[in-house]
């Protein structure tokens, strides 16, 4: 009652202010998030972008010199950049495809009704193990396994699959494939968990209807399972591709980018913290950002389509 009385005595001049305040209020609530976003994301990106347009940044006491797009032209035309880009694309594409195939296969196995619950639980733990380790632990583990005198060579030699010791991480023909394999091993559980959740969400009615229509197992998989998992597949593939594009620790700690296994992230790190060429490193970082943004747009679109 008292509120009603007060609202009746509001001056007309204050009405505009009240409306403005009401409009501004949501922005007030958003301001902490916006401030955090600006501090943690926008400012660093803009700073790195500006560094990429200058020469002699950070480690040179002389004022930076504006060079425009010269750093981009220099970086993109360098043979080492092209080699790193090619390796990165192979590394990311092979990883995503293998993650998909292995993750989906294991998820289908674990979703099968043929296995007892306790067997499924055991395999869930085993399959998910690689996801438990950090990248540095994975790198150390596989360095030991793939050591010329390591377990892998021992087994392969004993079985007779290879004629001599293979230098998995230091042979120019093998290193990039070995690192990709390690990344596949460490990353498939993410797909497995996501696909398993997706499979468990597919209504049984659909499969029953398929059976009634006389569909075989392949047709059930092709026309029910895959379409039902489609939104998950697209999201996972795009996210995984973006994450793999800037995978650093695994490559750095296994080969250091040597033996023809240089990827963009290790190439950028070397430019920054080994050559101290921060302009070049900033340029490379912007190139990686552009690539990630390109795939990020597809991800956002796919998410929107899913929501709609």
């Amino acid at each position: 009652m008292a509120t009603a009385t007060q609202s009746q005595v509001v001056e007309p001049a204050n009405i505009g202010w009240e409306q403005r305040k009401r409009k501004l209020l949501p922005y007030g609530y958003l301001s902490p998030t916006l401030l955090l976003l600006a501090t943690l994301t926008v400012v660093p990106i803009v700073t790195v972008f500006l560094y990429s347009l200058f020469d002699n940044v950070i480690v040179n006491p002389n004022p930076p010199e504006f060079v425009g797009l010269e750093n981009y032209i220099k970086a993109l035309s360098h043979r080492k950049f092209r080699a790193a880009l090619s390796n990165t694309m192979y590394f990311a594409t092979a990883s995503v495809v293998a993650h998909f195939v292995i993750g989906l296969s294991f998820a289908l196995l674990l979703n099968s009704r043929l296995l007892a619950a306790n067997v499924k639980a055991l395999f869930r733990v085993i399959y998910i193990l690689p996801w438990v380790f950090t990248a540095s632990i994975i790198a150390i583990l596989w360095r030991l396994l793939l050591n010329p005198h390591g377990v892998v060579n021992f087994v392969l030699l004993e079985v007779g699959l290879v004629p001599e010791l293979l230098e998995w991480l230091s042979d120019r023909d093998l290193a990039i494939h070995a690192v990709t394999f390690i990344n596949i091993w460490s990353g498939y559980p993410f797909y497995l968990v996501s696909f398993l959740a997706g499979l468990q969400g597919i209504p049984d009615d659909l499969y029953e209807a398929g059976h009634v229509d006389g569909a075989n197992s392949w047709q059930l998989f092709r026309f029910i399972t895959l379409p039902q998992l489609r939104p998950i597949i697209i999201s996972l593939a795009l996210l995984d591709f973006i994450w793999t594009l800037h995978q650093f620790t695994l490559v750095w700690m296994t080969t250091g980018g040597g033996s023809n296994s240089e990827v963009l992230s290790t190439y950028t790190y070397k430019a920054a913290f080994s050559s101290y060429e921060f302009s070049e490193a900033s340029t490379l970082a912007m190139v990686i950002l552009a690539m990630c943004t390109f795939f990020g747009i597809f991800y956002v679109r796919s998410q929107r389509m899913t929501d709609e």
């Binding site: 480690v59 006491p61 042979d171 290193a175 080969t255 250091g256 040597g258 033996s259």
Partner: protein
């Protein structure tokens, strides 16, 4: 009552004056990676002695692992917030100097009227000192005596003897090799310690008189590289070189899968702990046949420098003066198992450990040689040499092409 009031007043006055005295203390920030590598509390004890000898100066340590310290020092140099005193590696000095982040120690020494004749080495850039190595870890050849005895050979002294020994000790069927050469691109210090060291041991140099890259037309260097390739071609080098890191090389030696390695004295304790039964000795790096001059010894240092932004240069110098003094340097190098930065300092271990006595003899007979110290982007120089070197070792590149490419890469960095 008045008496109590008086006593209270006196206590307050004392506390106040003590507070003023405390606030007049100068606190030096000292960032380094040494403290975590030394026995717990031992480095602090040395600094406590410094504080006791220099009332009014306190030292606050900022300690972390080597790589973290490196990144933090370079980042803080860029923002002008570097600690007053910093631990330095010769590989970073140039970039910090370029940034104008280091104070001239030549000036600090002149201001303190310091006699630098006791210093074993000073790292100079443009004629002025910016880093003083206070603890040195030399890299002799570690040999497995039992394996050598089984093969009936003595520790090698020349390149030919080394090649013959490596061949005799190699037994691929049992995964045993004569030598290990780590060439990982992640840690390319194998180029410094396990590659260029062969050149320095024969009095050679990778730089010309002006300190510029001299890889092309350098006969000694070409011979050295060809010699190393001959070891690889002979199959006496442990497989996996191109991805091998220093710690893995040591592990191969500890586990008796490799008979000889070039290694830092800093690993003495580690090797003994990992394999107490390992019967090993050290010897100077083999020189080319016919060379009888002093042998250059590769080394790594714990260097020290002062920030250009410090407001306490005189106090910072006092700390360096203490750590490079005969007494301070002896104590530090004793706990670090390192050779001193002061020529008159004598670490304890030299008298108590036979292996260190041998090392000290090698140290005294040769000279410290690490041409990467103070060079621009030293680690990147090693890496860019490493890349074509691996191709050469694999037979995918000719010696001339490899040295041409390395020279071009180095000139790019120097320019």
């Amino acid at each position: 009552m008045k008496r109590y009031m008086f006593a209270l007043l006196m206590i307050l006055l004392l506390a106040f004056s003590a507070g003023i005295a405390a606030s007049q203390d100068i606190t030096l920030e000292f960032q380094q990676w040494w403290e975590p590598e030394l026995p717990e509390g031992s480095f602090r004890a040395i600094l406590d002695e410094f504080e006791a000898a220099n009332p009014g100066i306190k030292v606050e340590t900022i300690s972390g692992p080597y790589l973290t310290t490196k990144d933090q020092i370079i980042a803080s140099a860029a923002t002008g917030t570097m600690a007053d005193v910093v631990g330095l590696d010769g590989a970073w000095v140039n970039v910090l100097w370029k940034q104008g982040a280091l104070a001239s120690l030549t000036q600090a020494m002149a201001d303190a009227d310091y006699d630098d004749s006791e210093l074993a080495a000073q790292i100079k850039l443009a004629g002025e000192t910016y880093m003083i190595p206070i603890a040195n870890f030399i890299y002799p050849v570690f040999v497995n005596l039992d394996m050598l005895a089984a093969a009936g050979i003595d520790p090698p002294s020349t390149r030919a003897e080394f090649a013959a020994a490596a061949e005799a000790l190699t037994d691929p069927d049992n995964n045993v090799y004569g030598w290990a050469q780590p060439l990982s691109l992640e840690q390319p210090n194998g180029i410094q310690n396990d590659t260029m060291s062969w050149l320095w041991a024969t009095g050679g140099s990778m730089l010309d008189d002006m300190g510029q890259p001299n890889l092309v037309g350098n006969e000694q260097l070409a011979e050295t590289m060809a010699y190393i390739k001959s070891l690889h071609d002979a199959g006496v080098v442990a497989p996996g070189s191109f991805a091998m890191k220093e710690n893995e090389k040591v592990e191969e030696f500890v586990n008796e899968r490799v008979a000889m390695i070039i290694n830092t004295l800093a690993h003495f304790t580690l090797i003994r702990e990992r394999n107490p039964d390992l019967n090993f000795d050290i010897t100077a790096l083999p020189a080319a046949e016919g060379y009888d001059g002093p042998r250059g010894l590769p080394y790594a240092s714990w260097g020290i420098g002062i920030s250009a932004n410090t407001e306490h240069t005189a106090e910072a110098w006092k700390l360096i003066d203490f750590l490079t003094s005969v007494e301070g340097n002896s104590k530090l190098t004793s706990i670090a198992n390192a050779f001193p930065g002061n020529v008159n300092a004598t670490p304890d271990f030299i008298q108590t450990d036979e292996l260190f006595m041998t090392a000290f003899e090698i140290f005294q007979a040769g000279y410290l040689a690490n041409e990467f110290t103070g060079l621009p982007a030293a680690e990147e120089l090693m890496r860019r040499f490493d890349e074509p070197f691996q191709l050469y070792l694999e037979g995918d590149m000719e010696l001339g092409d490899f040295l041409d490419e390395a020279q071009a890469e180095w000139e790019d960095i120097f320019s």
